[in-house]
């Protein structure tokens, strides 16, 4: 049901490079898990509203006033590569 090709596709959607030896067992694992969760298909849920969140809260706002936050320096301190006040990354466009 889940092929190695499917696993590689999902891995690429997940931005994970998989080593060859990982793809096969992961295909088996995912198939096993999907077979288990297939039991959800037995229920009739046509009339049921989804619950994405249990609290009766929505759109929590605060007053729009400027407050102290992390400085540029504090933020950049955590990265492995920075330049001129920015995060430095490998080339994005060829």
């Amino acid at each position: 049901m889940i092929s190695e090709k499917d696993v590689k596709y999902v891995a690429s959607l997940s931005r994970i490079h998989l080593n060859e030896e990982e793809a096969k067992p992961l295909a088996k694992d995912l198939e096993k898990i999907l077979n288990y969760v297939a039991k959800l298909q037995k229920l009739d849920v046509k009339q049921i509203a989804p619950t994405s969140h249990v609290l009766p809260l929505n759109n929590v706002f605060r007053e729009d006033i400027v407050r102290p936050s992390l400085t540029q320096e504090e933020t950049l301190n955590m990265t492995v590569d920075k330049m001129n006040g920015s995060f430095k990354v490998p080339k994005v466009i060829e």
């Binding site: 696993v7 999902v10 891995a11 690429s12 959607l13 997940s14 931005r15 994970i16 490079h17 998989l18 080593n19 990982e22 992961l26 694992d29 995912l30 096993k32 898990i33 999907l34 288990y36 969760v37 039991k39 959800l40 298909q41 229920l43 849920v45 049921i48 509203a49 989804p50 619950t51 994405s52 969140h53 249990v54 609290l55 809260l57 929590v60 605060r62 992390l70 504090e74 933020t75 301190n77 955590m78 990265t79 492995v80 590569d81 995060f87 990354v89 490998p90 080339k91 994005v92 060829e94």
Partner: protein, 479 residues
């Protein structure tokens, strides 16, 4: 009596009576860590310096506490037991840490955990497994296994963990300690590195019920930095510690005592239920008909949320960055993919990929949306019972602690460890695990008590009454 073996409230009494000094307690716990940590491995890292800021101030709690490795302490490496966060030092304190600092807490170290809280055994940690203090060949449970093992081995006085599908309660049960998952929204999650945001909750792991209430007093309450924090009036939970449950209505879900439950666990929990009845509770069987769908619902919703939350670990802003030697796609995508390949362990990859699959085009309705709808059914089951009952009592885990390695090759059997704890997360209600006996081979068994949202008082009352009339919590791991 060694100071490290005491509860926080016992130590506070001694401090108030000026019979001991905070530094004596701190050094006692340090000696204990030095003598047993190599065998238990409860910590991802043990702190060398332990500041005691509170000597002489009676309103403070200078109690040693272990912090799960997914809760940010400013300028202290915090890694979720994952290689991908190696070297990450948060620039701010989680709200619970700020509250604990304000209360004079002394941090002992970061407790080990399953990587990103993905697991029920503490075996997926990049630091290697934590061992159960009751039997070093066995797991402590997970994902807050390090926190629970540290408390059970007296390597801390108390601890905090996080619970997404049972990650506080299941290890508490397997280690013979008390673990509380508070109501969703009661404890701020600001500074908790997110796993599944609609389910995660921080809570206390302690040696007894009084300590659980005391620690919840410190860490609970509204926080504007967490948009899911609920603004409820502050409570003193120690006021609920009354040994009296006469007339309290307790439901026992019949679906929780069927296939897969270890007979010894079943017997212990049934004996505990009889004890609650003899203490005056009104006990009746109830039905939670969608119980068998809880694990499947959870593994879709939790992994979907995790796949989104963990997208931030891409090598750009913090943590590991890894670049492959040869170009595969294009330079930046290669960096993302190789960083995540090197940084995440196998279970993290499995869950991120499962969640991505469930959210992907063509599968969203069949998996994710359907799981959200079944979540509604599971919540409705509980709401219905709570219309007539004050609490629901169940086993915490279907088995006692299993052997290290036993379930690592079978994700589904590992996931089923959380079958009894997941419904409380899916519906947001509070639940506690307290010790209720031991198996023939001396492994702890846990009793779970659930109540309505924001009714932690009911949980504490029942848990305290049971504990005071039985005394299982006094038995300590003989390490």
């Amino acid at each position: 009596m060694k100071l490290f073996s005491l509860t926080a409230h016992e130590i506070l009494d001694l401090l108030k009576a000026k019979k001991v000094k905070a530094e004596d307690v701190v050094s006692s716990v340090k000696e204990r860590i030095d003598s047993v940590e190599t065998r238990v491995h409860a910590y991802a890292r043990v702190f060398e310096t332990r500041e005691i800021a509170s000597e002489g101030n009676e309103n403070l709690f200078p109690i040693p506490i272990a912090v799960k490795d997914n809760i940010c302490i400013k300028d202290n490496e915090t890694t979720c037991a994952s290689k991908i966060l190696k070297g990450f030092k948060p620039p701010y304190d989680a709200t619970v840490i700020a509250k604990l600092k304000g209360a004079g807490a002394v941090f002992t170290g970061n407790a080990n955990m399953d990587e990103f809280a993905f697991g029920s055994s503490c075996e997926t940690s990049c630091f290697g497994p934590t061992r159960n203090p009751w039997d070093l060949e066995r797991v402590p449970g997970g994902s807050s296994g390090g926190s629970a093992a540290a408390v059970a081995a007296d390597e801390t006085i108390w601890a905090i963990g996080s619970d997404t599908g049972g990650s506080i309660r299941q290890p508490a049960a397997l280690c013979g300690v008390v673990g509380l998952k508070p109501t969703y929204g009661l404890v701020s999650r600001y500074g908790l590195i997110a796993f599944a945001s609609s389910l995660d909750q921080i809570g206390p792991i302690t040696k007894d019920v009084r300590d659980s209430a005391l620690l919840l007093n410190i860490i609970g309450g509204y926080d504007e930095n967490d948009s899911t924090s609920v603004d409820t009036p502050a409570k003193d939970y120690t006021k609920s510690l009354i040994s009296d449950i006469k007339g309290i209505k307790i439901g026992i879900p019949k679906e929780y005592f069927i296939e897969g439950i270890d007979p010894e666990v079943g017997l212990s929990v049934k004996a505990a239920i009889e004890q609650l009845r003899s203490l005056g509770a009104i006990v009746k069987e109830v039905s939670l008909p969608h119980t068998e769908y809880a694990v499947a619902t959870y593994y879709i919703t939790a992994t979907a949320e995790a796949s989104s939350n963990l997208a931030r670990f891409d090598g750009v802003q913090y943590g590991l960055r890894s670049i492959p030697k040869e170009q595969r796609k294009n330079p930046i995508v290669d960096m993302y993919e190789e960083t995540r390949n090197q940084g995440f362990g196998l279970e993290a990859k499995r869950r991120i990929m499962l969640g991505t699959y469930a959210l992907s085009s063509g599968y969203y309705d069949a998996y994710y949306l359907r799981a959200l709808k079944v979540r509604t059914l599971i919540k409705q089951d509980l709401d219905k019972v709570f219309g007539d009952f004050d609490a629901i009592v169940t086993p915490t885990s279907p088995t006692t602690a299993f052997k290290i390695g036993e379930r690592m090759d079978d994700p589904v059997s590992m996931y089923l460890s959380d079958i009894y704890t997941i419904p409380a997360n899916l519906s947001g209600i509070p639940a506690i695990s307290i010790p209720c006996g031991f198996s023939k081979n001396n492994l702890p068994i846990g009793l779970q008590i659930m109540a309505k949202a924001f009714n932690e008082e009911m949980i504490f009352k029942i848990a305290y009454t049971y504990e005071q009339n039985t005394g299982w919590h006094k038995k300590r791991a003989g390490i």
